[in-house]
Symmetry: C2
DNA sequence: GTGTCAAATCGTGATATCGCGATGTCACGA
DNA sequence: TCGTGACATCGCGATATCACGATTTGACAC
């Protein structure tokens, strides 16, 4: 399993260095805590509008937040029709945890 | 052992979200890789000027970087006379590693 | 097609970070 | 006491991030 590069580490830390983005990643651990949706959250992820509602930010801000998390490879986006669903990328998150104490 | 608060997590991630600061924390794992000093690095930490030299930044920038890491509780400063020595705070770093995958 | 809703992108002012030189503060030695 | 060296802080312009409303794109229903 490939390790994270320094650039990947920095962008992941930057993404987590914001209280709302950090909270969102925590919320996504339990996708079923969000309102129900056509496709279950633990399969495809949580719909953006539900994330937006809980974070209490505008649509554009919510979209930006998720784009930042996605660029850092911390979440995976699954688009179904008009809906974007986001779920955690446990692979990257685990590698990040290993990096701390290892490389860092 | 007390866990890190959300604010502490955010400020730690912010501090690590910069390539130079991230590199510095890695360098401090081996204090003896720096030039020799009166008091050994693995006891009191590395003198600021050595960090500055390796990071190749101005004195004020180096001081700011270390202040940021210190505010995030990622390093500990030991002042001896005129010299500020910095070493890793393994306690916080370990707690940060545990937080990922746990809270996060 | 037309309208509508979801989401991404654009454009923005406000705010924060970056990195530096200049200045201030403190410890030491002559 | 005066100078010097080490470090922190201040003040600054440059740049990036933040959060939003407005606009655009794309998917769907009719």
């Amino acid at each position: 399993m490939e390790d994270l590069s320094d650039d990947q580490l920095v962008s992941a830390f930057k993404a987590l260095g914001h209280p709302t983005r950090l909270a969102i990643l925590g919320w996504l651990k339990d996708g079923n805590s969000f309102p129900p949706q056509d496709r279950p959250a633990d399969e495809v992820g949580v719909c953006l509008k539900h994330i937006q509602a809980r974070a209490n930010v505008s649509q554009s801000t919510a979209s930006q937040f998720m784009a930042t998390l996605q660029r850092a490879d911390l979440v995976i986006c699954t688009r179904i029709g008009q809906f974007s669903h986001y779920r955690r990328n446990e692979r990257t998150i685990a590698k990040l945890g290993e990096a701390i104490g290892g490389d860092i």
